[in-house]
């Protein structure tokens, strides 16, 4: 089928519209329908994977229709090695959300399912849109459902968190809208055709100061989304207040819209400015790695701890992107998927015990491994994946990022590497205090073991953690040509050549490094 991307994109929206006719009281039917719709979407996205041709660098499964021809805006979709796994991550995590919240959402279940389905479609749209304005439309469309999810189904301080989340993001994205219009007209004055197609805007001639301004307009929007230090303050609030499903999607997919934006737009649109300011972003990323880890270390609240660990882990992704070499960028994309899997699973697990004990404080737990052995196993695997234990996915991503960025930014990479150690400290400490040792609180003796739906939600995540950990090349192979092409665009300019010349270490492709590391 040629319009597989459209099917994947519109299936959740069509299901959401169908849900409107369900009576409010039929909670189980609504949840079942939502789950089925999201599984159908996942199957459709597997079709994308099946049709994806390895070794092709450019966009595949391309669809293009005129949308607003007067302004050169098209409904054009496509997928390449950079977006492929992120689409699959989105379609995987949505059924996971529905499964995990099967028994926990009692308030307005219909609106809950509709919100998540629309959110899923918008997130898929972000990753498949190949027109800048279409991308922007989906980018904004993700905000509203997440705002409602946090604000309606969230915790005690949900309103503050929801509004903060919305305002932070919209501030960045409206400035990006200005940048989008400006870029479109720069291209128009340059070539005489008005278009917002991403591939045609690559290589638009821009005056240096204009390129700098546009670079910051786009980078700010994505840096808020990632979030990069010091723009991260909305994230702990949003995560702590969001319901478990909201946290899974927020950490699992939405943060990746920021890192994806850097890769798809900032790097290839503004190669000169990227080369010039890569140091700044790398510095912020590494500060984020360390800062996030240190703050996570001292959190008494489990969910906050995982939230700050996201700041730390996403810092690695940004480091990998702005190190600007094949290995680090491939590692960065893989790490986006890894973080979605492991942090999604961790938030899910925190939700599981919160549901049973209604507290997230570490001090209220201890010895849970005795009462909930199955749950403890899942939590343990997810945590080890997040720490980066060899054999699980986190190790591959972090290793590639560090190996790649060491070639271009050795000093910052050494500092960032300590973040891995810190992650081991705070996550192992979390496990130790929650699951091991004697049972100090009476309430913890009779905690219900993990339920069928929670197991069903966790199993696919754990399988993928092991799969990526053992056979990373299955995943890396598909992104290699696209990343190569991206680097060609970025490295074409003089400034970036100068930067590469400054950094004398030889460059390897990812597979070489993997062989040397003996990961295969």
């Amino acid at each position: 089928m040629t319009n597989l991307l459209s099917i994947t994109l519109w299936l959740p929206i069509a299901s959401a519209v169908l849900l409107l006719v369900f009576p409010k009281t039929a909670a189980n039917a609504i949840k079942a329908f939502g789950l089925l719709a999201s599984i159908a979407t996942f199957i459709a996205s597997l079709g994308i994977l099946g049709q994806f041709k390895e070794g092709v660098a450019g966009l595949q499964l391309v669809e293009s229709l005129a949308w607003i021809p007067q302004w050169g805006i098209r409904y054009s979709l496509g997928v390449d090695g950079i977006s492929l796994w992120l689409i699959l991550l989105t379609t995987l995590l949505t059924p996971v959300v529905f499964l995990s919240s099967w028994n926990t959402i009692h308030k307005h279940p219909k609106e809950y399912v509709i919100a998540f389905l629309i959110m899923e479609a918008a997130m898929i749209g972000v990753f498949v849109a190949t027109d800048l304005v279409l991308f922007y439309v989906f980018f904004e469309l993700t905000l509203l459902p997440m705002y409602l999810v946090i604000g309606v189904w969230g915790g005690a301080n949900r309103i503050y968190a929801a509004i903060k989340f919305f305002l932070f993001t919209i501030a960045g994205s409206l400035l990006m809208l200005f940048g989008i219009i400006y870029l479109g007209f720069a291209h128009y004055h340059d070539t005489g055709t008005i278009t917002f197609a991403i591939t045609q805007l690559y290589g638009t001639a821009l005056a240096p100061h204009a390129q700098t301004l546009l670079f910051f307009a786009f980078a700010l929007a994505f840096a808020i989304k990632v979030p990069l230090f010091p723009l991260h303050t909305w994230l702990p609030d949003a995560h702590v207040e969001a319901p478990t499903g909201g946290s899974i999607i927020l950490a699992g997919v939405m943060l990746k819209m920021g890192t994806y934006g850097f890769l798809r737009f900032v790097l290839p649109f503004f190669p000169d400015a990227t080369a010039k300011y890569a140091g700044l972003l790398i510095a912020l990323a590494v500060i984020g790695v360390i800062y996030g880890a240190l703050v996570a270390w001292v959190q008494p609240d489990m969910k906050k701890l995982v939230a700050y660990s996201s700041v730390s882990h996403l810092g690695f992704c940004v480091l990998g992107i702005f190190a600007l070499n094949q290995t680090s960028i491939e590692g960065s994309i893989l790490q986006m998927v890894n973080h979605g899997l492991s942090t999604g699973a961790l938030f899910l697990c925190v939700g599981v015990i919160y549901e049973r004990r209604h507290t997230r404080l570490l001090a209220d737990y201890g010895g849970l491994a005795k009462t909930m052995p199955v749950f403890a196993t899942f939590f343990m695997i997810s945590m080890l994946s997040s720490v980066g234990l060899p054999g699980l996915n986190g190790f591959i991503g972090e290793f590639l990022i560090l190996a790649g960025s060491f070639q271009t930014w050795p000093r910052w990479t050494v500092v960032a590497a300590t973040g891995v150690i810190l992650a081991a400290i705070y996550l192992l400490w979390l496990i130790q205090r929650v699951f091991f040792g004697p049972i100090t609180k009476e309430e913890n003796r009779n905690v219900r073991e993990i339920a069928w739906n929670e197991i069903a939600a966790l199993v696919p995540l754990v399988i993928l953690m092991v799969w990526i950990g053992v056979r990373p090349n299955t995943f890396l192979r598909k992104m290699t040509p696209s990343v190569q092409q991206l680097l060609q665009i970025v490295n074409k300019t003089d400034a970036s050549k100068a930067m590469i010349a400054r950094n004398t270490l030889p460059r390897h492709s990812s597979s070489v490094v993997l062989d040397a590391g003996g990961v295969r």
């Binding site: 005129a66 949308w67 607003i68 021809p69 007067q70 302004w71 307005h108 609106e111 304005v133 922007y136 439309v137 904004e140 469309l141 905000l143 509203l144 705002y147 409602l148 604000g151 309606v152 949900r158 309103i159 929801a162 509004i163 919305f166 305002l167 919209i170 501030a171 409206l174 400035l175 809208l177 200005f178 219009i181 400006y182 479109g184 007209f185 128009y188």
Partner: protein, 495 residues
């Protein structure tokens, strides 16, 4: 007197919509006088008149009429349709409102029709006197409509305020026109074009005349710093009228300004009069959006947001190109749909006119009255310019025009103030869905929700809301036909 030279062939066809509306108003008043028992039928009758006027737009002929004082073209058809849309929505929302308040009268709709006729004259006038005549016809209708609720103090206050300020404003417009007449020797815009082609931009007489004219028209636009009346008047006016008032007169004034400004080129650029317009725009965007944050009354909040929206529309006016006129026409149509829709929801939710419509009054309504909640939410998101609504397309067009013609700074200020505006529009959604009503009201509210059906029996209001919502999404998702029509029409006006 022999009028033949003034009455060109086909003049009847040219002013067909105006004729339909004027006669329709008279019929409604007579109907009300002779069949007072059938007052319930006045609203459907009014709807028919507005639809008939819209239908008559298909038969009009373009060109200049009445001795080059009245121009009919594609752009005037678009604006006519905007006025008719605004009046139609106001009529549909007013039906239940008037029935509830107990004064369903034919003259209410008749005044709406004549006001609409006045706006059509403003939009078509090629002579400043025609514009002023239209403005006065419109203003008199507004004075009465704002104070229509004559037994309520706040409504009277609003009417008096609008009357006093409006009278002053008209005076300013007349002074400005008189001074222009002194310089040009005519009030005809064709003569203006001729004169301004080689006028001295440093002439202080012209500058003073321009300032006076802009002050008067700025009042009608509710643009800062001439906006002081707007919050009080909107708050006191019947809600459907407030919605209509916040959109239609502004649209009429804007299209009149386009013609006037176009006739003043190139002096208007040379004499830096456009800088004054830019200052008005920036002030409106900043004051409107900043003060709206402090409002808890929904109608006052929408008044301040309206001030900001005029600021955005003025951005497009800065570059007098066909694109800017097209952008303004798309914006006013969109603004009519979303703002009258929002006022309509407020009107339908109120128990009576004295009932203040504050944010607390709509707490938790989103789940209790799902259709109204959803409609208000969509209007708010469209007003804040988020995709995939019409508001996004309209704002995108404005900013695109500004960037294309090099007005970077003001476009940037527009973006920054938009960020501020998201806060107060979002707050409405927050109250709708995330806030529980005060406990004292809770039982009453629950009882109310049990008795009130999913969609209220107010067929007219529900229909108007559906028109608004369908319009918002149609323009938001498939703007191409509208952009084509507006672009072609604007190109014919300012080639």
């Amino acid at each position: 007197m022999n009028l033949t030279p003034l009455l060109e062939a086909g003049w009847m066809n040219a002013i067909l919509p105006e004729l339909v509306l004027s006669l329709g108003g008279i019929v409604l008043i007579l109907f009300d006088a002779f069949a007072p028992k059938l007052r319930g039928a006045t609203a459907p009758l009014a709807v028919m008149v507005f639809v008939a006027a819209g239908w008559s737009e298909m038969f009009i002929v373009g060109g200049d009429f009445f001795g080059h004082t009245y121009q009919i073209s594609a752009i005037t058809v678009i604006f006519d349709c905007t006025f008719l849309l605004a009046a139609l929505l106001a009529t549909l929302f007013a039906k239940a409102y008037l029935a509830r308040e107990g004064f369903e009268r034919g003259e209410f709709y008749a005044l709406l029709m004549w006001g609409t006729t006045g706006m059509m004259m403003m939009a078509k006038g090629l002579d400043l006197l025609i514009v002023i005549l239209g403005l006065e016809l419109l203003s008199i209708c507004i004075f009465i409509l704002v104070g229509f609720h004559r037994r309520i103090a706040v409504s009277n206050e609003a009417s008096l305020k609008y009357f006093l300020m409006g009278a002053f404003a008209t005076g300013f417009v007349l002074y400005g026109t008189a001074l222009f007449y002194g310089a040009v020797g005519s009030t005809n815009l064709a003569a203006f074009s001729h004169y301004f082609a080689k006028a001295d931009p440093a002439n202080p007489l012209l500058t003073i005349a321009f300032i006076l004219l802009m002050s008067g028209l700025g009042f009608k636009l509710a643009v800062a710093p001439f906006h002081g009346w707007a919050p009080d008047v909107y708050q006191g006016a019947p809600s459907p009228i407030a919605g209509w008032l916040s959109v239609a007169p502004k649209a009429a004034t804007l299209i009149a300004l386009v013609r006037i400004f176009a006739s003043m080129t190139p002096v208007i650029q040379q004499a830096s009069w456009m800088k004054m317009v830019a200052a008005l725009s920036i002030l409106s965007m900043i004051i409107g959006n900043a003060v709206a944050i402090a409002q808890r009354d929904l109608k006052r909040m929408l008044a301040y947001s309206g001030i900001a929206h005029v600021g955005y529309m003025l951005i497009a006016l800065l570059s007098l190109r066909d694109e800017s006129v097209a952008a303004i026409s798309v914006y006013v149509i969109t603004y009519a749909l979303m703002n009258i829709g929002a006022f309509g929801v407020i009107s339908m939710l109120a128990k009576n006119q004295n009932d203040p419509q504050t944010l607390d009054d709509i707490a938790g309504l989103g789940f209790r009255r799902p259709f109204y909640g959803l409609a208000l939410t969509i209007c708010m998101f469209s007003l804040s310019g988020l995709p995939p609504t019409a508001g996004f397309i309209a704002k995108f067009y404005i900013f695109k025009t500004a960037v294309d013609s090099g007005h970077m700074t003001i476009a940037f200020i527009g973006i920054l103030t938009s960020i501020v505006s998201v806060y107060y529009y979002l707050r409405v959604v927050y109250f709708l869905y995330m806030k529980e009503p005060e406990t004292a009201d809770l039982h009453a509210a629950d009882a109310h929700s049990l008795t009130s059906p999913l969609i209220d029996a107010d067929m007219f209001g529900t229909g108007a809301l559906l028109i608004s919502l369908i319009g918002i999404f149609t323009i938001g998702l498939f703007p191409t036909p509208l952009l084509d029509a507006a672009g072609a029409a604007a190109h014919a006006l300012l080639p």
